[in-house]
Amino acid sequence: MLKLKLIRRENESTMARLIVPVLSIIMAFGCGWIFLALSGYLPAVVFAKMFNGALGSPYAISETIVKAVPLMVAGLAISLAFRMKLWNIGAEGQIYMGAFAASGMALALGNGSPYVIIPIMMIAAFAAGALWGLVPGLLKAYWQVNETIITLMLNYVAIYWVDYLVFGPWKDPNSMGFPLTPIFSPAAQLPTWGDSRVHLGLLLAGIIAIVFYLVVQYTRWGYEVRVMGESSQAAKYAGMNVAKNIMLVMMVSGGIAGIAGMIEVAGITHRLQQGVSPGYGYTAIIVAWLARLNPFAIIIVAFLFGALLVGGFAVQIVGVSFSITQILQGTVLFFLLAGEIFLRYRLVLAREEAV
């Protein structure tokens, strides 16, 4: 009898590491194609529209970049925690907290020098996000409390907190009932590139990626993170303090996500409003996973997912729901997860012996 067998590999396959993500994207779009066809659309038309909407013109590309920036920053934040096998799925809440703290600073400081106000907003955003990461980090380090649930619950707390502010005390009296704060002073707005909405946040994301890479690859702390993520036994053998680092990593991860929130309010909305992040914190998880936690790959993948978001808006013109982007996102991740088994196992067609 012939049977498919999974044989454990001794080493992770390098080839598979590259092929699996690429193939996942292709197969996800293949599924999307079939799905659209079954739903009575012309997939070629829809995908062409999507491509044009996201990448077909300078304006389209600029919008894609705008959507990619928060994904990049949040993706970097998540990848740091994931490297330590800490399942921080709270980037969404950390973004909201960062946006809240940055907005608070912007509203309190009013007008002034952007060279003072912007850094203060950034520090505040980092601190608020870090606090939102420290809570689960502390609980995990000392009592092994499940960080997944805590980070997730804190998302809702952060979102409702921002809702409370924009519907309540921080609401702009002139907003005609919309849940918005007053607009920030120009000194609290990130400069943009020409007429587009592409703003300084892109540069910031790039800097964070480079710093992230340098820190993880070339500093003592980065070395500790790499060792601890692979084996806590080895970390103990090397004399590292694992509990302290769990807290530190969760803080830094939350802090970076907080900066993503600051970038959104200072760069795009210029005010705090309801739904500051339409799920960037969740999409960023896919981005980080697809990029295999590599900071530069995150930049590229975030761009692709930014394009997917913008393309999703574009296809609404031909009557396709924006939801198609979420279907594609989910499917990419399904194939990626399913494909990962080929990194660790080989599929072998074996003859079952009579035993």
């Binding site: 454990r8 739903s39 399942w87 799925i89 609980l139 009592w143 092994q144 409390v145 499940n146 997944t148 649930i149 805590i150 997730l152 619950m153 804190l154 809702y156 707390v157 409702y160 907190w161 809702d163 409370y164 519907f167 309540g168 969740y282 999409t283 998880i285 896919i286 996973w289 396709v320 729901s321 924006f322 939801s323 198609i324 982007t325 979420q326 279907i327 594609l328 996102q329 989910g330 499917t331 991740l333 399904f334 997860l337 399913a338 990962e340 088994i341």
Partner: protein
């Protein structure tokens, strides 16, 4: 608060708790078998969409419920395939399921956005009991789904703690090696529990679109799937506690709608936060105290590979 308002609030609590209880009971079953499925929100949404569309097009809400069962089960089977058969990461797969479910339901439901549900479940008016003042309207004048849901949660408690199957399911979640050693097919049990769990999440979603709302709106479950996940922890993996928890959460939900009209000025946003903060506090207390029967199934979230050395 007068008696009529209180009885209306409690009746609303029963309704609001129902979808959460369906989903939480389903997730509880899956987690008892060792499979963490964070895709409850997605499964509920697909159930809600399937149920709504099928009911509207066939005119039969029982067929709609069947469709919701199928939708939830289908979603859960993707999770099963990835995490059980292919040993993929359960956390990430569950997140993917939520994103995918949100997309799929939004896509299918697009043309129904805002459409009212024309076919309604008749409320049962339980004879005699329904006429009791106060308690009658609170407990005995609901649609059959409300009772079905309690019945299912109670049945699940019986199944888990009083039957051979329950022993099998719990053993697979606690110690798959031990279960395997006495000849239990770990993968099959987990798959079954995951799919049944997904079906129940689908029912929970359908209850929202068919009865509770009753209309279709994109992302109409509004985080109830995540509350259900938290509720499982809150309930310490015990269906009887999940019943209490679901109505507690349902009560908070019902109250947030009514407080404003009652002239009480706690911001509804803080009330909305309450279930999540309560969950965090409970989770921390439970983990720190680690009571004998309070812990999560020991093998929750871990893939099982027999020849792992």
């Amino acid at each position: 608060m007068d008696n009529t308002a209180l009885s209306a609030l409690l009746a609303a609590t029963m309704i609001a708790g129902t979808p959460i209880l369906f989903a939480a009971a389903g997730e509880l079953l899956a987690e008892r078998s060792g499979i963490l499925n964070l895709g409850v929100e997605g499964m509920m949404l697909v159930g809600a969409a399937f149920g709504f569309i099928c009911t509207l097009s066939t005119g039969n809400h029982w067929l709609g419920l069947l469709a919701a069962l199928a939708g939830g089960g289908f979603m859960a089977s993707i999770h099963g395939l990835i995490t059980i058969t292919l040993r993929g990461n359960q956390v990430v797969s569950g997140l993917a399921l939520t994103i995918f479910g949100s997309g799929l339901s939004g896509f299918l439901g697009k043309s129904y956005q805002g459409a009212p549900m024309l076919f309604k479940f008749e409320s049962l008016h339980v004879p005699v009991l329904g006429n009791i003042p106060f308690l009658g309207p609170v407990l005995f004048r609901h649609d059959p789904m409300v009772y079905l849901c309690i019945l299912m949660a109670a049945a699940m408690w019986y199944l888990l703690y009083k039957t051979r199957w329950g022993l099998t399911i719990r053993s697979v979640g606690e110690n798959p090696q031990a279960a395997d050693a006495v000849g239990i097919n770990v993968g099959r049990v987990r798959f079954l529990c995951t799919i049944v769990g997904g079906m129940m999440a689908g029912l929970g979603g359908a209850y929202i679109s068919l009865v509770y709302a009753p209309t279709w709106q994109e992302n109409m479950t509004a985080g109830r799937g995540w509350i259900a996940v938290a509720l499982v922890i809150f309930a310490l993996w015990n269906p009887s506690r999940a019943i209490i928890g679901a109505y507690l959460f349902g009560g908070i939900e019902a109250l947030t709608f009514r407080l404003q009209t009652m002239g009480i000025h706690i911001s509804s946003f803080f009330l909305a936060m309450f279930p999540y903060i309560a969950t965090i506090v409970v989770l921390v207390l439970v983990t720190i105290r680690r009571r004998q029967d309070a812990g999560a199934p020991e093998a929750l979230g871990l893939a099982y590979d027999r020849e792992e050395r």
